[in-house]
């Protein structure tokens, strides 16, 4: 019983970070119809900025804020200076489908090289904002730590802010409408090019938080967020790629699922488990577990 509870809590903590990455991918997918592989690079760059600030100021949260801002600026920049131009030039035929995705892979490589040249490839650590030692109850120490709690709380706050932004503000309404049918949104007076850039900025900021949180209990290298991208992507697919709520649910399911495998089956099967889930979902329910069986725009 105790082990089951531990597994659930650790799974939620892990899954909540996946949720942020998954959300970042879904936000870009909804607005641009691109699977953004560069998201790992964007998050990594933002985390390096956050790491610089956090290690100089010794304040993790200041680093987190800078990571959000850096992520948002970079995300907006990628859309404005890169995607917009790309869509202008490759706007029809197979090129229009393939070019943006390949371009995000190229961008990932580019960001990685720039980060490598600037910060080098060695392992960096950010001092965690809370203890990584598990809570102790009498004689028993569980693996779930104050840091895990803090991660869950931080993610919950970010999700609440996003939910309010999307559900309760004009901007959120414009973002939802532009994602669903840009042409109709434009006719209603919405500048969809601008809302798209804002979508990329929000995704970038959210990715920055994910990077900082992962790094707080891990380490940072130009490659350290690749796995986060993979699991974020799997979570997004489980949630159906379209839905933000789906992205979060998918990530929590994945986080708990992988922790069950880790705790009850074996470490070596975690990766296989993740990919098996991805393939199963794609084969059985390609629209994701949240799909209501209707087709949105093509």
């Amino acid at each position: 019983m105790q082990k089951a509870l531990e597994t659930l809590l650790i799974g939620l903590s892990t899954g909540s970070i996946y949720a942020l990455m998954s959300l970042a991918l879904v936000l870009v997918w909804r607005s641009t119809r691109v699977v953004n592989f560069a998201q790992a690079g964007q998050a990594m760059f933002s985390t390096y900025i956050g790491f610089e600030i956090a290690s100089r100021s010794q304040i993790f949260w200041l680093g987190l804020i800078f990571a959000i801002v850096a992520g948002a600026v970079l995300g907006a920049g990628v859309d404005y200076f890169f995607m917009r131009v790309l869509f202008k030039h490759a706007n029809s035929g197979p090129a229009a489908v393939v070019a943006p995705v390949i371009a995000t892979l190229g961008l990932l490589g580019l960001i990685r090289s720039i980060v490598g040249l600037t910060w080098g490839g060695e392992f960096r650590a950010i001092e965690a904002p809370a203890s990584k030692d598990g809570y102790t109850f009498g004689e028993i120490t569980i693996p779930f730590s104050p840091l895990n709690t803090l991660i869950i709380v931080t993610v919950a706050i970010i999700l609440i802010i996003l939910a309010i932004l999307f559900q309760r503000t004009n901007l959120g309404l414009a973002l939802r409408a532009s994602a669903y049918a840009p042409e109709i949104a434009q006719l209603a007076g919405i500048r969809t090019a601008r809302t798209r850039t804002i979508g990329w900025a929000i995704a970038g900021g959210v990715g920055g938080v994910a990077g900082m949180l992962v790094t707080s209990y891990n380490f940072l290298t130009p490659y350290s967020l690749d796995l986060l991208l993979v699991f974020g992507f799997i979570a997004a697919v489980i949630g159906g790629l379209e839905s933000m709520a789906g992205a979060v649910v998918g990530a929590l399911v994945l986080g708990v699922g992988l922790t069950i495998i880790l705790n009850y089956v074996g470490t070596s099967l975690v990766f296989i488990g993740g990919f098996a889930v991805l393939l199963l979902v794609l084969l059985i329910k390609p629209d994701g577990i949240m799909a209501r069986g209707k087709v949105r725009r093509g």
């Binding site: 004009n170 309404l173 939802r176 049918a181 434009q186 209603a188």
Partner: protein
């Protein structure tokens, strides 16, 4: 009727690849006027709307709005220029509530910028837009469904909501694309009344297949066939025009989709 022109299209031509969708079309709309745009399927009626709303790029032609020469607007500039358009097949966002659908059309009244809105400083705006949407919905007798998702509405109600979204920006020019399509006799009667009532505040161009509607509400009618205007004038003149009768009755074999 005043003769003040609010919209004037000169020599509009649109090509789709090698196909001439519109050639040298001239259309004038006066203040408070209700203009009908009719013609067989594929005549180019909706293409006129698409050119006006930036969804297709004209090969040639000029546009005058409120007496001034302007560039053809981009889709998102339409509302700012005082033009609203409804779409054939409604064009609502099924996942959004009715109220949200209409609020989208009112976004030009929002005062806060994107950044402030993102930071949550736009509460007043949202309230103002919401009450604006609500009163527009009530004008169209669909105030009671404001909080329902658009996908749950009956077809006639979705038509009313899409007109509400067009009206909420208080347009000077309203483009209605087949507003009567798919409606029953009672709803069509209501629509006729609405259009007659709206002309006091806005000038209207209607693309419509329902001849009853066109003949009863329009002051003037332009008839398009194969991308050219073959006749224009008041309903009576147009009804008896030889070219028009031929286009509608005699060219079934030539008519293209």
């Amino acid at each position: 009727m005043t003769s003040e022109q609010v919209l004037s299209i000169r020599n509009l031509s649109v090509n789709f690849g090698g196909l001439k969708a519109l050639s040298n079309v001239d259309i004038n709309l006066h203040k408070g006027e209700v203009l009908g745009l009719i013609g067989p399927n594929g005549a180019g009626k909706t293409t006129v709307f698409n050119a006006l709303s930036g969804l297709v790029t004209p090969a040639s032609g000029s546009l005058e709005l409120y007496g001034r020469n302007v560039k053809w607007p981009k889709p998102y500039q339409l509302v700012d220029r005082g033009i609203s358009r409804t779409l054939q097949g409604v064009g609502l966002f099924p996942d959004l509530t009715v109220s949200e659908n209409v609020m989208l059309g009112a976004s030009k009244f929002a005062k806060t910028g994107f950044i402030q809105s993102a930071l949550g400083f736009s509460g007043k705006d949202e309230e103002a837009l919401k009450s604006r949407s609500q009163s527009t919905l009530e004008r169209l007798y669909v105030g009671g469904v404001a909080e329902r998702k658009a996908e749950t509405l009956s077809y006639p109600d979705t038509k009313r909501v899409s007109i509400a979204r067009a009206l909420v920006s208080e347009p000077q020019i309203l483009l209605l694309d087949e507003p009567a399509g798919g409606l029953g006799a009672q709803d069509i009667e209501w629509l006729n009344g609405l259009i007659r009532h709206l002309r006091s505040s806005t000038s209207i161009i209607i693309v419509e297949h329902h001849m009853d509607v066109v003949m009863s509400v329009c002051d003037r009618i332009y008839v398009l066939n194969f991308g050219e205007i073959i006749a224009s004038g008041d309903p009576e003149t147009v009804k008896n025009d030889k070219n028009v009768i031929e286009a509608y009755l005699g060219t079934h074999s030539k008519a293209r989709k």
